[in-house]
């Protein structure tokens, strides 16, 4: 099959899957099968492209011009491939998980849920495959809109409030900052295509360049740089599978992916460090401040949300250092964090489904009744902290090496400090769960599909530690 067909399939499969899911409204088992089949198909299509991309091919598909000189175009390159693999692969896993969760909690509107889920993946894949800023922006906004029904799934006043914050902050950042940034780039560079080496080289410098970078960094609100981060905890009103895939994987990853893409392909790695000097400070502040909030949060999902905010800024920090090693670390962290965080959210959802507990303080002894869940949680925690044998160790290693190479002591200090903070808010949970006496608990493990999913992602976290070849190769080919 030609590249064009394969790329078109990457978008057609999740979109078509969404339509089929909606049609299978009356037959829940068929509907779930369609979801999973679409996920599997998408992953296989993306996987089939990976060899060629690793060897230097850049499959492309051009749809036609939306504006004179600006086309809707897809182009697959290593970073996009990584994101697409993560999104499609984890779609399948979280599909399995969602089935267990939605049925275990007897949630309403399941068809709408699974259909919007598929559309959200389509949006994420669109972002991954985007060949220019306009296409990226198109799918980025589509992702925001399509995830709104997922965030407000429960339809009550709380969901409405959370949905408002979610939408308001994401649209505010993208319309107020990202859109002008794109227009300025177009005016300066004459193109919005992602070009190795960047578009803006030599066209803007100094304070103006720093300003433009700020517009991008704050404009890509999905990367949750403070103060645009508030949408993430607000989105926790969503059911946990939504939080798991979208806010640990797809939506937030679209954010940091876009930032890395802008750094590498719009500014270019040789752009000049003065414009980037301020960004590590903002990212560093986000890392530490978010960790402190996480430390003090009792609601488990809230703690995980702020942990995500913090971990995303690792990627931004590493990318902002502009050294080859730190960039590899940033890309690896996109993958490592995805596997680790999704495990943590899966575990949180399992705890809610089986034990109906949402607060950390309620978790005493729960681990003994849900050993698999909390073992997986422990592995996810290790990845967040950055200890072997979890994937987070690999990415952190590269980030620290990059910080040393750049002699950026603040970045180094922030990474070290936040490692300790991560330990501070994750390890106690594991300790409480296994080693403290709980109240008389009568529940068991979560439904099988949920446990299967979280064990799989925990395993992936460990697998990535031992075998990081693919992500490493993709990251290195960016340089």
């Amino acid at each position: 099959m030609s590249y064009e067909t394969l790329l078109a399939l990457c978008l057609a499969i999740p979109a078509g899957g969404a339509a089929l899911v909606a049609l299978c409204h009356r037959w829940p088992n068929l509907r779930e099968a369609v979801s999973l089949a679409s996920a599997a198909a998408l992953f296989l299509v993306v996987l089939s492209l990976s060899d060629d991309v690793l060897q230097g091919a850049r499959p492309a598909l051009r749809f036609g011009e939306m504006l004179p000189g600006l086309a809707i175009a897809l182009e697959l390159e290593p970073l996009g491939l990584l994101f697409a693999l993560i999104a499609s692969g984890l779609w399948f896993v979280s599909g399995v998980y969602s089935i267990g969760y939605m049925r275990g909690n007897d949630e309403a509107h399941q068809t709408r849920f699974f259909a919007c889920f598929a559309l959200a993946i389509a949006g994420a894949v669109g972002v991954a495959l985007a060949g220019n800023l306009l296409t990226l922006y198109l799918f980025y906004e589509a992702l925001t809109l399509v995830t709104y029904p997922l965030v407000t799934h429960h339809g009550d006043a709380e969901a409405r409030r959370g949905g408002r914050t979610y939408l308001a902050l994401l649209l505010l950042s993208s319309m107020l900052f990202l859109l002008p940034a794109m227009a300025i780039t177009w005016w300066l560079g004459g193109t919005l295509d992602f070009t190795p080496g960047g578009i803006l080289g030599g066209k803007i410098s100094g304070g103006a360049a720093a300003g433009l970078l700020a517009l991008y960094a704050f404009g890509i609100g999905k990367a949750a740089l403070m103060p645009i981060h508030r949408w993430l905890p607000a989105a926790m009103v969503a059911p946990t599978p939504v939080s798991a895939l979208l806010h640990a994987v797809a939506v937030v990853k679209a954010g940091v992916f876009s930032i890395v893409k802008v750094v590498v392909y719009v500014f270019g790695l040789d752009f000049g460090a003065e414009a980037f000097a301020w960004l590590p400070w903002v990212a560093g502040f986000t890392i530490v401040a978010a960790s402190i909030v996480a430390l003090r949060a009792d609601n488990l999902k809230r703690r995980l949300a702020y942990s995500t905010v913090s971990q995303l800024s690792y990627v931004v920090l590493a990318a902002a250092l502009l050294t080859p090693l730190s960039l590899v670390g940033a890309v690896l962290h996109i993958a490592a964090h995805a596997f680790g965080k999704i495990t943590l959210f899966f575990a949180a959802g399992a705890v809610y489904t089986a034990a109906h507990k949402t607060e950390v303080s309620q978790l005493d002894g729960v681990g003994r009744r849900m050993p698999w869940t909390f073992a997986a949680f422990g592995i996810g925690a290790l990845s967040m902290i950055g200890l072997p044998p979890a994937a987070g160790f690999v990415s952190k290693w590269y980030m620290i090496s990059g910080a040393l190479a750049a002699e950026h002591w603040m970045a180094l200090g922030v990474i070290v400090a936040s490692t300790l903070l991560n330990a501070g808010y994750f390890l106690p949970i594991v300790y409480r769960a296994f080693f403290k006496e709980g109240n008389a608990e009568t529940h068991g493990e979560a439904p099988l599909s949920m446990v299967a999913a979280l064990v799989t992602t925990a395993a992936l976290t460990i697998v990535m530690f031992f075998w990081a070849d693919l992500p490493l190769a993709l990251a290195r080919s960016l340089l």
């Binding site: 004179p68 969901a159 319309m175 002008p180």
Partner: protein, 494 residues
């Protein structure tokens, strides 16, 4: 036959009106109105294609040569607006059947359709004519017909709204005529192209200045330029649904066309604009419109008034492009004539379907509660059209925003870029009120009838909504036509 196309554009609806009155039956009236609307669309497309080949079509009415006779002149800008007006008419006319049947008494239907044909004739005539006074005549034809159409609304408030519009609209037309009179006194001709030539040689500029002022205010009243917009919210809110859609999509747009024609074609040669702060004035008024009207819309409870205020804000976007006055922003202005036309048209057509089903005469946000469940297609259509109003990529509204932003950047007007995107955010606020009510509302004021609007109304409404998305992706006609028109306007003598 083909050479007579420019005349046919106006003659067809103009003859249909008395025919409908003579036959005196509502069914025939609707059929004739629809047939004429579709015929006008065909003629407009034919003219546009011809203009694409030859550049300018000049048609002498009655074979009297210009500048003594009245000339119909079609160039890139006129062709663009002709297609816009007739496209909206072609979609709104089939829609009218069920909508009008539900909102107006039976024995008045044929009068409604006759007025509609007159309004269409007036609007098309305004665009196609190349004679200043002829423009006034068509302006008044369309306006008088519009006053009647609005007054046919179901509530008694429609009468007051129509009267208010009559007063202000006639003042506007009168000011326009005063302006034309002063120009005639100075140049001795009424033909727009000829006037432009003669203005070049005029020495005494004060009458020309006065004419510019009168024409600006006159047309400004008609196009609801802030602060001359007071008639618009009531007129749109209380008129019958089909009229709201048709007038919102076309009425102000044609007056804006007239303003563009005067500023760039007629007044351009006169050495006026160097000393006048027209740019600053238009930018200031446009920004005021964009910000203030959007904010009012956020707090408005009646749904139709909410979108009426949104129209005032959107007209601000169009005049903003006029104020910034470079190729990109002017392209944005002209393309927004089309983009806003289909967006607002779609919204009002969809709301008409909701009104029909709910049976109520006025719609508050609360009455939209639970729309997502009762009328899923209509609600979805409202979301899409709402997104186009906000300017999300993939919809027509984004195209406009892009050009306005790029135009502002080109002149280094950074604060203006911020204003443009900030007002889009305010649009998010009022659009999302509607979306939230439709999907997250508790269904408090649930109406008697459930189910979608009848197909005769739903299909045109959704077709218009589909155009919002279509023009967001395929801009070959919209941007291509707009860019050509903008280039034509700017080429002038500047």
């Amino acid at each position: 036959m083909l050479e007579q196309l420019p005349a046919l554009q106006v003659v067809l609806p103009l003859l249909a009106a008395p025919l409908i009155v003579l036959v005196g039956r509502g069914g025939f009236g609707w059929a004739a109105a629809t047939a004429v609307s579709w015929a006008c669309l065909a003629v407009a497309i034919g003219l546009a294609l011809r203009v694409a080949e030859v550049g300018v079509i000049s048609y002498a009415l009655g074979s009297w040569p210009p500048p003594w006779g009245i000339e119909y002149r079609v160039d890139a800008l006129s062709a663009f607006v002709l297609v816009l007006v007739s496209l909206v008419a072609a979609i709104a006319a089939p829609y009218a059947r069920r909508s009008v049947a539900a909102e107006i008494e039976r024995d008045r239907h044929y009068l409604f359709y006759a007025m509609y044909c007159l309004c269409l004739a007036g609007l098309l005539g305004m665009v196609i004519t190349g004679d200043a006074f002829n423009l006034f005549v068509f302006l008044e034809i369309s306006s008088l017909a519009t006053y009647v159409l609005i007054a046919l609304g179901p509530q008694r408030k429609a009468l007051v709204a129509s009267f208010q519009y009559l007063l202000l609209g006639t003042v506007g037309a009168t000011f326009y005529v005063i302006g034309v009179g002063l120009l005639y006194l100075k140049t001795g001709t009424l033909n727009l192209a000829d006037m432009a030539e003669r203005l070049r040689a005029v020495e005494e500029l004060r009458p020309v200045l006065a004419a510019l002022a009168f024409i600006t205010v006159g047309l400004g009243l008609k196009l609801a330029l802030f602060p001359l917009h007071a008639w618009l919210p009531n007129a749109y809110a209380y008129s019958p649904s089909m009229v709201s859609a048709f007038v919102a999509a076309t009425g102000t747009k044609v007056s804006i066309y007239a303003l563009l024609r005067y500023y760039f074609t007629v007044f351009d040669p006169a050495p006026l604009f160097e000393t006048l702060p027209t740019r600053e004035l238009f930018i200031a008024l446009s920004v005021a419109a964009m910000v203030i009207a959007s904010l009012v819309a956020v707090f408005e409870r009646d749904v139709k008034r909410l979108f009426a205020y949104s129209s005032v804000a959107q007209v601000g976007y169009i005049t903003l492009g006029l104020g910034v006055d470079n190729l990109d922003s002017l392209t944005g202005s002209i393309v927004h004539l089309l983009n806003h036309g289909v967006t607002k048209g779609a919204i009002f057509l969809l709301l008409g379907g909701v009104a029909l089903k709910s049976g109520a005469v006025s719609m508050s946000i609360g009455s939209l509660s639970g729309l997502g469940r009762r009328m899923p297609l209509t609600a979805f259509g409202l979301v899409i059209a709402g997104l186009s109003l906000i300017g999300i990529p993939g919809t027509a509204g984004f195209i406009t925003k892009w050009y306005l932003i790029v135009g502002a950047i080109e002149f280094g007007l950074w604060w203006l870029v911020a204003v443009i995107v900030a007002t889009s955010l305010i649009a998010v606020a009022y659009v999302w009120r509607v979306v939230e009510a439709a999907y997250l509302g508790e269904g408090g004021e649930a109406p008697a009838k459930t189910g979608e609007a009848p197909l005769g109304m739903l299909v045109p409404a959704l077709a218009m909504t589909a155009l919002c998305v279509y023009f967001g992706f395929d801009t070959s006609f919209s941007v291509g036509g707009a860019r050509e028109a903008a280039e034509l306007l700017l080429r002038g003598t500047r």
